[in-house]
Symmetry: C2
Subunit: 194 residues, 2 copies
């Protein structure tokens, strides 16, 4: 007889998603999640630092996606070009068949302020990691942080459009458009567009 079934983390994760979606985040207790997964409260906290963290599983992998894009960028790329490579490169993590589940997850987060704060924190640490990777490629401050933050902003906005109701375009297409918009917007010369 086994004392524990394998995949405790996975079970806790899906139990939490399920409960957060149906009952709501605040209304769900850690005890319930653990029970649903056939584990105890104490075990939950062994795997996740807090009740929020369970929903952000695999975010390291996702962050790696961005950093790989930086490594793959041509050595002479400017700061923004490098960031574009990172952001569009990471778009492979979100193929169109993941749209529905991404939407579901985003709805859960949008419904609760605590989860939103945690999401912002994840995005912020993503920006820091990208900035650090840029600095390692010789890009100086403040260009590195400025580019990293801009890239994350474009990613966030693109993601929001990608999971919007009725959206059909791929994430990478939306990203390219937004980067073009960013260039337009910051163009120093007066332009006919607003």
């Amino acid at each position: 007889m086994v004392r524990w079934e394998p995949g405790a983390v996975e079970r806790l994760h899906s139990a939490a998603l399920e409960l957060y979606a149906t009952k709501g985040f605040e209304e769900t207790t850690v005890a319930e999640i653990a029970q649903t997964a056939g584990l105890t409260e104490r075990t939950f906290f062994r795997h996740f630092a807090d009740k929020r963290e369970v929903i952000f599983g695999g975010s390291e992998l996702f962050q790696e996606g961005f950093l790989d894009g930086i490594v793959a960028a041509p050595a002479d790329a400017k700061s923004l070009e490098t960031v574009i490579a990172a952001v569009t490169g990471a778009a492979v993590f979100f193929p169109d068949d993941r749209r529905a589940s991404s939407r579901q997850r985003t709805r859960i987060i949008a419904a609760n302020p605590q989860l939103q704060e945690r999401e912002l924190q994840k995005m912020s640490s993503l920006a820091s990691a990208i900035a650090a990777a840029l600095r390692e490629r010789g890009i100086r401050e403040p260009a590195a942080t400025l580019a990293a933050e801009s890239g994350v902003t474009v990613f966030r906005m693109s993601f929001a459009q990608w999971i919007a109701d009725g959206a059909e375009r791929s994430l990478i297409d939306i990203e390219r458009d937004l980067f073009a918009e960013l260039r337009l917007m910051t163009g120093s010369e007066a332009q006919p567009t607003t």
Copy 2:
């Protein structure tokens, strides 16, 4: 005999700042803060939604500062120009004689992840408010959000430089430089600088 001294909010605020700075945020209990201010725990939660919020007092006023700058901008200003007006306009909230106390407050926040998350949330809602104000001036999406987020990024970076050890330049000077850097960075044409 007075039943309560006036300025409960103010007293709780400074008691909290004091304790967070000396003992640390986690190590400080709400009961201690209340006691130091000569009030009860219950009263603390009447004024502040949670233990974090006490440190972000007056952030509505600060947000107003940005929005006022938008109103004051010329009617034909482009999205980024308008945001520059907002961000540089709000710099009056941080004259050089506030540098020391701003540094102190920032140190407290930097020392605790929960406070950092709350800070990010405040910045995020500031960006949303700015974007909304831009839309009201006829600037369309995605330019409005893109400009608002860029402006908040420049503000955050400028603020960090402003309170850095040994810094002497005024906040508004730093902001102008960073906006110039942003324009340089996003310039579509190849440039000799990195």
